[in-house]
């Protein structure tokens, strides 16, 4: 199957996908309840889209194509409310967070769908270990070349998104000392990492994808688990490094931060990306995963070391005008708040200290997802 043609879409439109955890409210372990949730949700029109994910304890929701922050946030809240209502009727708790703190990966059950069963056979324990939960943000691109410019232009900002969204400090019952342990699970896949450095779509198609397809290793873009990947059938690029935040407010803010950043990159207010930008890519990515906002990254051009916190604040100042045009100032305020108060990973660590157990961590995450105080 050759690569689908890139279907242009309205520039800077957004779509958000959230992978969420289904949790048993008694012991706070993951609950294999995707079937039951989907059955109940299927009875009424859902304010967005809802799909099964790899294992029975995950569910994926997504928004429509949105342009404005307030509308995106409103839809995410409607989605959250619909999920909570269904969960209440079925005694299933729902929460965000990039990992479940103490689930045992070998207990997870693969959702009965041919694609998932196939992946499970192919990847073995990796597939079950992939019981991790991410937020994916799509940004619409007017052309395929825009898509590649954005995809590579964003490489330098990627650690920011990891640090801001990080909500997976615990895995398999222990503190990993990472802020985002989830990305370590993603890294185990052979086709993870970054896209090859090609800025021209026809070259990407003929020189890279066609060759890869001929090897038989891949059949579609879906087989790549890159940090950012183009999605030709939607006409978007998809940022995949974010952990699912603990509430939808944060999810909306992250999406709009990305949107504003893309607007700046499309306006070419930044030099075009070059292949050498990727020299520091894995190092910076590690810093963000491990230390979150306290990470120290290296600027790919100036080789200057800087704290992620400072880097985000500086970026926020540079894209204020873009946010004004996009009417997403409030989203940037939320990002600033994360920088000030700490990301979700630090919230969960505080809760663990207070509650004294990893179960208490999940309980706190469940509470966080439910909170409607800011409405």
């Amino acid at each position: 199957m050759p690569l689908e043609p890139f279907k242009a879409s309205a520039a800077l439109t957004m779509g958000v996908e959230l992978e969420l955890q289904l949790v048993n409210p008694t012991d706070f372990d993951l609950s294999d309840s995707a079937n039951d949730m989907l059955h109940l949700l299927g009875r009424k029109p859902f304010p967005g889209d809802v799909k099964p994910e790899m294992t029975q304890s995950m569910i994926e929701v997504s928004t429509d194509v949105q342009l404005r922050y307030d509308e995106l946030l409103a839809q995410l809240r409607r989605i959250r409310n619909a999920l909570l209502e269904a969960g209440d009727r079925l005694n299933i708790a729902i929460c965000g967070g990039g990992t479940h703190p103490f689930q045992r990966w070998f207990h997870q059950r693969i959702f009965e769908k041919p694609r998932f069963q196939h992946l499970s056979t192919l990847y073995g324990y990796l597939a079950k270990q992939f019981t991790v939960f991410g937020q994916h943000v799509h940004i619409g691109c007017a052309s395929s070349d825009d898509a590649l410019v954005l995809l590579h232009g964003l490489n330098r900002y990627l650690p920011q998104f990891i640090a801001l969204s990080a909500s997976s400090p615990y895995s398999q019952g222990v503190d990993t000392l990472f802020d985002s342990a989830r990305l370590n699970s993603v890294f185990a896949f052979p086709l993870s990492g970054r896209a090859p450095f090609i800025l021209d779509w026809s070259e990407f198609e003929s020189e890279y994808f066609a060759k890869m397809e001929k090897t038989g290793v891949v059949t579609s873009m879906k087989d790549f688990y890159w940090d950012i990947r183009p999605k030709p059938e939607y006409g978007t690029i998809e940022l995949r490094v974010c952990d699912t935040p603990l509430n939808v407010e944060r999810a909306a803010a992250l999406a709009c931060y990305l949107q504003a950043l893309c607007r700046m990159l499309l306006a070419r207010r930044e030099p075009l990306p070059v292949e050498d930008d990727y020299l520091v890519y894995n190092y910076n990515r590690f810093q963000a995963c491990r230390f979150g906002l306290d990470g120290v990254i290296v600027h790919p051009r100036t080789a200057e070391a800087m704290s992620l916190r400072e880097d985000i604040l500086a970026t926020l100042r540079r894209i204020e005008l873009d946010a004004d045009v996009l009417r997403s100032r409030a989203a940037l305020d939320e990002i600033r708040r994360i920088v000030g108060e700490g990301n979700d990973a630090s919230f969960l660590r505080r809760e663990c200290e207070d509650e004294g157990s990893v179960q208490g961590v999940v309980e706190a995450a469940v509470r966080r997802f439910r909170e409607r105080s800011s409405e």
Partner: protein, 404 residues
């Protein structure tokens, strides 16, 4: 000369045999459980029941006088642990967020009560035994459903609902049962005081004691610290103490343990995964519990009441399934899952026997009055867990083979 006589042999052997009878029976039951599980995929507790019945004294086996105190008390402790765990898994808030669940529970239990009452009257049973039998029939044995669900490592709506409905209908059964006992005392020899004592006071004090433990024990644990390490032992000890106290004062250990679990849960003290079933201690006591239950049965009683037993089982199954199917859609699940929930509610035995054990002191010998009961207990002890097992598997809530 007598000393040399061979006729002395049984007299020496008998006490020795009596001492080793229970451990030996448990060992046999355990082996049978493992083999049955491996070869026939039988839930282990089915095999325990079969072995218990086969080895019972009335069948000429080696288990003499199973109602003897220490064993009965141990069985109560075993059941107390299971009830505590069940209570712990019950989310009372669910009744608020999904009122149809409460409706389901009341309807399935109420309909079972009425149907079984009609059947037993039709078979010519007198009023009080009919009422008591109907009360018992309302309940689903929490021991069987908890064990089967844990053995299969199930999760999903059928599992959750079966556990919740089992807890609810067990409470309903105890309440109705105690009220009938109160009525019986009042109508019979006893005065009003004894009637109230054996119904309302027993209910309130048992639940109150359980609730007290539910507040005190988590508090104690928090004070002592080291939650992860100590929780299992402390809770097991607390259940042991609670059972012994309620047993000694003739309150209801069942209600107390359930209330203990419920309150402990809502005090938000989280038990970790490792403590499911109370580990090896729980396994051992469960083994004893299920052997004990069928060892109380006499095959002559089973045979005598068999037709009526089958009628009661049929009526009970029909009303339970009807209740869960009727409200399946409105409570948020498919008809199919409603059907499986009703099926999974089939087990009965353990709860019934222990409930009866506690009224023995009042001179209520229901086992002898209601010939059908032995048959019901035996059939449901062996078939009940099997039906629950398959209902959960068919509902798709157990990991498939190779996924474990």
């Amino acid at each position: 000369m007598r000393r040399a006589s061979p006729s002395m042999m049984p007299n020496i052997a008998e006490p020795v045999l009596r001492d080793i009878a229970w451990p030996l029976a448990l060992a046999i039951a355990w082996i049978a459980g493992e083999l049955g599980h491996r070869w026939l995929r039988l839930p282990r507790i089915c095999s325990y029941g079969i072995v218990g019945f086969a080895l019972a004294a009335s069948q000429g086996g080696l288990l003499a006088a199973p109602a003897a105190k220490p064993i009965a008390l141990l069985a109560d402790v075993a059941f107390g642990l299971i009830l505590f765990e069940l209570g712990y898994r019950i989310n009372l808030g669910w009744l608020r967020t999904n009122p149809w669940l409460g409706v389901t529970s009341l309807v399935e239990a109420g309909a079972t009560f009425v149907a079984v009452f009609l059947v037993s009257r039709w078979f010519g049973m007198s009023l009080v035994p009919s009422l008591l039998l109907s009360a018992i029939a309302m309940s689903t044995s929490p021991a069987a459903v908890v064990r089967v669900a844990n053995e299969l490592r199930c999760s999903g709506q059928v599992t959750e609902r079966t556990l919740h409905l089992s807890a609810f209908n067990s409470v309903l059964a105890v309440v109705v049962f105690k009220f009938v006992v109160g009525y019986w005392v009042l109508a019979g020899s006893g005065g009003a005081f004894q009637a109230i004592w054996s119904s309302i006071v027993v209910l309130v004090v048992s639940a109150g004691l359980g609730a007290l433990f539910g507040v005190a024990v988590p508090g104690l644990l928090r004070m002592l610290g080291g939650l992860e390490r100590n929780a299992t032992v402390v809770f097991a000890l607390a259940v042991l103490l609670l059972t012994a106290v309620t047993y000694a004062f003739r309150f209801s250990p069942l209600l107390a343990a359930l209330a203990f679990g419920l309150v402990a849960r809502h005090r938000r003290l989280v038990l970790s995964q490792a403590q499911r079933n109370f580990g090896a201690l729980g396994d051992l006591l469960t083994l004893l519990l299920f052997v004990f239950v069928t060892a109380t049965l006499d095959w002559r009683q089973v045979v005598a009441g068999f037709p009526m037993a089958m009628a009661v089982i049929g009526a009970r199954m029909a009303t339970k399934v009807a209740g869960t199917v009727l409200f399946a859609r409105s409570s948020g699940i498919s008809w199919r899952k409603g059907l499986y929930t009703g099926m999974a509610l089939m087990p009965l035995s353990v709860f019934a026997i222990l409930l009866l054990e506690q009224t023995r002191h009042l001179g209520l010998a229901l086992m002898d009055d209601v010939a059908a009961l032995a048959g019901i207990v035996l059939v449901l002890e062996i078939l009940g867990p099997l039906v629950t097992h398959w209902a959960l598997v068919w509902a798709g809530e157990a990991p498939r083979k190779g996924e474990r």
